[in-house]
Symmetry: C2
Subunit: 226 residues, 2 copies
């Protein structure tokens, strides 16, 4: 049959508009995937939510897998912009590391519109960690990049004497990641308001006490007896 467009809603076709619709699809797709996972990110649902046809949605990506990868890329861009960029102007080493960690907390705590279901990387990592294919590879790659950045920062902190000389940067990053997995779970599953403070206390134990961005010093949690 012929497309009529007699419902008052005329199609927009300029190449610039196309980019904007693609961005709209991606933005909403990231929100969906954050809640229901990259598998739960359905073309049909995306289409109905955005008031367009499935073919129109899929035309921008070609394949569901490509859509998933694009959503992952989009989330990576948001992540980089939200937690990495604000810390980039800080001096390398411990200061920047602390700034990143603090931005990471606010990223998990406040970005409920863009990621209503929590960090998309965590969701995707758990969802695909036992499968194989391009999506799993992309998730692994993103996580590795992020860890490498953190480890590099930790290394310069050690070189600058801001962290003890016997610090193992990879170990530090490993425990940092655990802290944030715990934060994501706490926020999503229990909605616990004290989760951020818990995380900061854990950070103090890992990085040494100190106020990163003007916040009040946190009460000590546990420290080895002198």
């Amino acid at each position: 049959m012929a497309a009529r467009y007699d419902d008052g809603m005329s199609p927009r076709k300029s190449v610039a508009e196309a980019r904007r619709t693609r961005d709209r699809i991606l933005e909403h797709g990231i929100a969906i995937a954050s809640v229901d996972g990259l598998d739960g990110l359905t073309i049909g649902r995306l289409a109905t939510d955005l008031g367009m046809s499935k073919a129109g949605v899929l035309g921008h990506f070609g394949t569901k897998e490509a859509l998933q990868l694009a959503a992952l890329d989009g989330a990576a861009a948001i992540f980089s912009r939200t937690v990495w960029a604000p810390a980039e102007h800080r001096p390398p080493g411990l200061a920047r590391l602390r700034a990143v960690c603090e931005a990471w907390i606010t990223y998990l705590e406040t970005d409920r519109d863009t990621f209503p279901g929590g960090c998309l990387f965590t969701t995707a990592a758990v969802e695909f960690d036992a499968r194989s294919g391009p999506v799993r590879d992309a998730v692994g790659r993103l996580l590795r990049v992020w860890r490498r950045r953190l480890a590099a920062e930790a290394r310069t902190a050690v070189a600058e004497g801001e962290l003890p000389a016997d610090t193992d940067p990879e170990q530090l990053v490993y425990e940092l990641g655990g802290l944030y997995l715990a934060l994501n779970q706490e926020l999503q599953l229990f909605g616990a308001p004290g989760a951020a403070e818990r995380t900061r206390r854990g950070l103090d134990r890992l990085l040494g006490p100190g106020a990163p961005a003007g916040r009040a010093p946190t009460p000590r949690t546990r420290r080895a007896a002198p």
Copy 2:
């Protein structure tokens, strides 16, 4: 049409056999859910994998949601038997806490047949943490029970003087959980063989150094300068 059973495969109907088929379904279902999530746990796939009909599978549970809850319960039983039971005969407090943590590591590291896709609780928690309903509630309940047990053990450890007096048990459990989330991710996503040792180092930092079950003392990671 009529079921004929003329393919040489006669049905078995005794109530005892029925229990065994139910267990078979659950066992395989847990393995599937571990990899593909509780949503990916499909009745059709379960049926073909086990060589039975969809109705035969669903008859034992009635609903997919009931099947998911049953799988969760089964996984909880395995978890309790594998990581809690072996430590139960240890004296309460730090010793038992250490034994649980060590059993937890081996549970994540070696149970690849029952949980080929990693800890089912972690998978289910991330999968349902942004939704609502009985499954999400069940996951939350199980996690809470587990945390309460750990916190209780930590509390007696403090009371016994095995941990510093200013230890916050909930904080300790929080960081413990993060450590194990990190372990699960490391094992599943990167298959890193050093992940267990990383976790033990983190445990030493949380619980104080000490060999829990006869293993060699681990090299120090990072300790505050004296």
